[in-house]
């Protein structure tokens, strides 16, 4: 028997456990071999349905292979390979096992044809990605890791509740388009879980809270998989949901606004993940062939350029120990290669012509145009300007140029530069040859990104955004602050809630609950006790006392009778005999 289909996720999840046993060059070879083997596995897959198993009377499908799942699996594994190159110098095997398990979970979600296996891989991703934060082993990272974990547990419970409800209502676990159940409770719960993982505000505060706390190499993995597997799940289940159009557009601007206020380099980039995923969510909501193609293409391009940007910021963090823009400046002198590679990622995310973002983001924006949604079109275009403003201008300006802080870092180890080079090459290749990406999109592509009008208006937007940046530069200086987001509710709000509620709760306890308790429990119990006490003292006690008194009286009578006089005894005997005779005669 030949094996017809090997799950690439299983390859990574099981294969990861070999790494702790290996050392040195062999271990590094294995780190690269695993994602490469899984990628080759996916490249040779023929669309179809594989890995169908029966579990407790339910049919589980582990391998739904079609153009949509394939294109996501390609980019997940390309990024996993690049991320592993970036992490080659890290000796901590636990991080590698967690990272590969995390990628495996994302692949499991991608190929899942039913909700139950989707759920299992969904939770596996939550657990393994939490480890990538916790393994930073700093106090703030451990706190952030646990917050991240708890948020995703809540999301997972939404998903499970939705799945159980959906199954009990329809009798089916198949994971397909949910449009027919729109508005129902099961639909809502599953959508909420997907939106939480896609970091849609107000459910997305976990992302900028957690990602900047992860390990330098772990953060590179985290940027790719959680939000983008959620985008995949949204495309699969919720394409054409009107709500998503607006949530996506708001999300694109939300991330940009927060990025203005941010001082932590990696957190600024994290807010731009939210902004970029906004384009994808919006594309899913529009739901036309061009829009879902755009969401898919943008997810593909985004994973690579955002990985590159996080690798650049991570390299600065690792080499200088600095994470805040206020502490950096002047690093271009000693880290020019890092700067150059970072800028390729920055041009890609800003959708500069000839870089990947230009050919993917514009599909979503054009889809909004074709659908005659002027407000959405304007919101997305405005967010584009904001993206270039922060990722392309503000961050590199304050990190590498700006006021010289005196901080100096050497270029990072060669493997980190190679990884950044691979991602940069991919960003340029997609930008120059969009056909490479378009050929793998789920719907046939009839879209031409390079038209004179598109190129010239994009250059206009970007050029004049740069003008605005330099004119307002002195207002953009980063300040030592943190900005409130919805994570406030579980970081501060819960404690404040307890403090605020303490007074009323105490009063409620003493005056109301206490009174009721007094009335319903304490008094009846005391009353009953009193009754029993009286019963005890009057009935039981007096009975005992009575018996005692009677015995005492009897014994006194008997003592009086025992006089020691023989005549008295004789008289008593005679009386007794007489009484017995009378009794005997009467009975006869």
């Amino acid at each position: 028997m030949t094996i017809e289909w090997v799950h690439p996720g299983l390859l990574l999840i099981a294969g990861a456990w070999i790494l702790p046993l290996l050392k040195g060059q062999i271990k590094r070879a294995a780190m690269l071999f695993l994602p490469a083997a899984a990628l080759i596995d996916c490249l040779f897959m023929i669309p179809g349905t594989y890995g169908v198993t029966n579990f407790l009377g339910q049919e589980l499908t582990f391998g739904r292979v079609d153009s949509l799942s394939l294109v996501f699996s390609y980019v997940f594994l390309i990024m996993a390979f690049i991320g592993m190159v970036y992490a080659l110098h890290v000796e901590d095997s636990a991080q590698h096992v967690a990272a590969l398990t995390y990628v495996g979970g994302a692949l499991g979600v991608t190929f899942a044809g039913d909700f139950l296996s989707l759920y299992v891989f969904w939770e596996l991703m939550a657990i393994s990605s939490s480890l990538l934060i916790l393994l930073q082993r700093e106090r703030s990272a451990i706190a952030a890791g646990f917050r991240y974990f708890l948020v995703h547990i809540v999301g997972g419970l939404f998903l499970l509740a939705g799945i159980v409800l959906h199954w009990s209502q329809t009798g089916s676990l198949a994971f397909a388009d949910m449009g027919a159940y729109s508005g129902g409770l099961a639909w809502t719960l599953i959508l909420l879980a997907f939106l939480l993982n896609a970091a849609v505000p107000p459910l997305g505060a976990w992302l900028p809270d957690a990602y900047p706390e992860a390990t330098v190499t772990g953060a590179v993995f985290m940027t790719a998989f959680t939000t983008k597997s959620a985008v995949y799940a949204l495309i699969r289940g919720f394409a054409g949901t009107e709500l998503l159009v607006w949530l996506g557009a708001i999300m694109a601007i939300h991330g940009v606004v927060y990025a203005v206020l941010e001082n932590d380099g990696r957190r600024l980039l994290a807010y731009h993940i939210i902004s970029q995923v906004g384009y994808m969510v919006c594309g899913v909501g529009i739901g036309t062939a061009l829009a879902t193609n755009g969401a898919t293409a943008h997810a593909f391009a985004h994973i690579l350029y955002k990985g590159l940007l996080f690798m650049g910021a991570g390299a600065v963090l690792q080499m200088t120990g600095l994470r805040k823009l206020t502490d950096m400046g002047g690093l271009y002198k000693t880290m020019p290669v890092t700067l150059g590679l970072y800028m390729i990622g920055a041009f890609a995310i800003s959708a500069v012509p000839l870089f990947s973002g230009f050919v993917s983001k514009s599909m979503v924006v054009s889809a909004a145009g074709e659908d005659h949604r002027a407000a959405i079109f304007l919101m997305l275009t405005l967010a584009s300007a904001g993206t270039f403003l922060h990722t392309g201008l503000k961050l590199p300006y304050y990190m590498f140029f700006g006021k010289d802080s005196g901080a100096r870092g050497k270029e990072p180890p060669a493997n980190m530069l190679v990884a950044m080079g691979l991602a940069a090459a991919a960003c340029i290749a997609i930008g120059v040859f969009p056909g490479l990406l378009y050929a793998h999109l789920p719907n046939p592509v009839d879209y031409v990104p390079y038209t004179l009008q598109h190129v010239s208006s994009t250059l206009g937007i970007l050029g004049f955004t740069a003008l605005g940046f330099f004119l307002l530069l002195k207002h953009l200086d980063p300040v030592r602050t943190v900005s409130l987001d919805t994570d406030w509710f579980y970081r501060r709000g819960s404690a404040r809630l307890v403090r605020v509620l303490q007074g009323p709760l105490t009063r409620l306890e003493y005056s109301f609950v206490g009174q009721i308790y007094d009335f319903v429990i304490r008094r009846p119990v005391l009353g009953a006790a009193e009754v029993f006490r009286k019963l005890d003292s009057f009935v039981v006690d007096s009975a005992m006392v009575g018996v005692g008194r009677w015995t005492q009286t009897l014994s006194q009578v008997l003592r009086a009778a025992v006089s020691g006089n023989a005549q008295h005894y004789g008289l008593m005997m005679a009386t007794g005999v007489l009484v017995l005779l009378i009794v005997a005669m009467v009975i006869r």
Partner: protein, 76 residues
Amino acid sequence: MRFARVKRVFYVGLAVIALAEIILPLIFHDGQSHFSFENFPAWGSIYGLLSCVAIIVVSKLIGKLWLLRGEDYYDD
């Protein structure tokens, strides 16, 4: 001075872009615009500048009035 030259190149570049945006649609018609406002002369340049200024001003305002806290806000 080097900085002044970079500045001059930057401004010349902006002028070229804006002019190209105005002139190119008059010569070539590749009919990509979905809305009438896209046909406004130098639409991208104007909207880019407006967007950038709006984002900075509005965000800073929201931050000052509402969102910004001291760096140790969450520290116990």
